[in-house]
């Protein structure tokens, strides 16, 4: 006789054995009265558990439903849900847009002032001038050769860029705060959902 199949009897009883495992247990049961008796006990145990009613009475389903429906909170609508997900993507989109336009503008102005785009575009230089650059060009404007003038113009534009970055810092800080706040609320919501799931 093969080895007893006690550990597999539960699964066999529940119809959860398949293939080789199922055949092995069936073959063993055919020749082992001890395992057959154990299987019968498992069957009786299931019958006992399922047929023994609870020792208490519960609310009738209709009464439970009537009570529950009164307590159902309002659910957030799809519009609110869409708005909720718009926050991170909107924040990211605004940040990316600001970054890209800022860099493009800087590159465009640098190119324009260096004279690289003059053949392609008819735009006059519209870049802002820092005080030091204005003073220097008004004092030495006629004595500076074009290469030095272009170099000074590039330095001026870099300075303008730095100043703009500083002024953009507040804007970016606001975006970060909005995103972090959304992230925290999101984590709280997720942990609440995980508990339900």
């Amino acid at each position: 006789m093969s080895k007893h199949v006690t550990p597999w009897l539960s699964a066999y009883h529940d119809g959860e054995l398949h293939g080789v495992g199922l055949r092995r247990v069936e073959q063993h049961l055919a020749e082992c009265p001890q395992c057959r008796a154990e299987l019968e006990e498992l069957r009786m145990l299931s019958v006992l558990l399922r047929q023994t009613p609870p020792a208490v009475n519960f609310l009738r389903p209709e009464r439970f439903v009537a009570r529950l429906v009164l307590q159902l909170p309002r659910r957030t609508s799809l519009v609110v849900e869409f708005g909720w997900w718009l926050v991170p993507f909107g924040t990211l989109a605004v940040w990316l847009f600001a970054q890209v336009t800022s860099w493009l503008r800087a590159v465009f102005l640098l190119g324009l002032d260096a004279g690289l785009l003059t053949n392609l575009l008819e735009f006059p230089s519209t870049s802002l001038q820092m005080n030091w650059f204005t003073a220097l060009t008004s004092l030495l404007g006629n004595h500076l050769n074009p290469f030095v003038q272009a170099g000074l113009s590039i330095l001026n534009n870099l300075h303008v860029l730095v100043v703009r970055w500083q002024s953009n810092l507040l804007f970016e800080a606001i975006l970060i705060v909005v995103y972090l706040a959304w992230l925290m609320v999101c984590m709280a919501r997720c942990s609440s959902r995980l508990r339900t799931a």
Binding site: S10, E41, L45, R50, A55, F58, P61, Q71, R195, A197
Partner: protein
């Protein structure tokens, strides 16, 4: 045009997902007996079980939009109620212990002899269930009272299939020993 049970349920779920409370009420009415039965078998206290069922249905209502169409609502509800009741038991160990100790062996009200016998047997069964470790008890209750397959139990509890098998085997072996002892004391048999 007539709908099958599954189609009718899908319709009710879709309506409930759109915020229809009446449709959700019908679903609750359909699943309340099973959910409260599982909750009761896990905690052994009718009030606690009903509170857990209520909490589970409220959670399900709030998260109904995340319920995937085509999956079993019953299994999803069982999963929520098992987590809810186990959380409650963890938070409220003292209450549950008291409830266990207070569970009387005989009813204070006079009952006809055959009812008394049934009542005593019911209490012995419930006591035996409660004496199992909560991990094994959850598996056994979902199998015997929730009638979930091993795969569904594994998904509901987030444990491997092999663990479901071993826990169920251990739970039944322990329960069998306990019931043999107590039912023999009272000259009762399994069935």
């Amino acid at each position: 045009m007539t709908f099958t049970h599954a189609e009718c349920e899908e319709l009710l779920i879709a309506q409930a997902q759109r915020g229809d409370r009446q449709a959700y009420g019908e679903l609750v009415q359909r699943y309340f007996p099973g959910v409260v039965r599982v909750a009761y078998r896990l905690c052994g206290d009718a009030d606690l079980a009903q509170d857990a069922a209520q909490e589970a249905f409220l959670k399900a209502w709030l998260n109904l939009h995340s319920f995937r169409a085509g999956t079993s609502l019953r299994n999803w509800l069982y999963r929520i109620v098992v987590n809810t009741i186990l959380d409650t038991l963890r938070r409220n160990t003292k209450t549950v212990e008291t409830a266990l100790e207070d569970l009387p062996l005989s009813d204070p009200l006079p009952l006809p002899e055959e009812h008394l016998f049934e009542h005593e047997r019911a209490q012995i069964v419930q006591r035996a269930l409660l004496s199992l470790p909560s991990a094994s008890r959850s598996v056994l209750v979902l199998r015997e009272y929730g009638e979930l397959s091993y795969q569904e139990i594994a998904e509901a509890l987030g444990i491997p299939l092999g663990t479901v098998m071993s826990r169920l085997h251990a739970a039944r072996a322990q329960l069998k020993r306990l019931l043999e002892l107590h039912l023999t004391d009272l000259e009762m048999k399994y069935v």
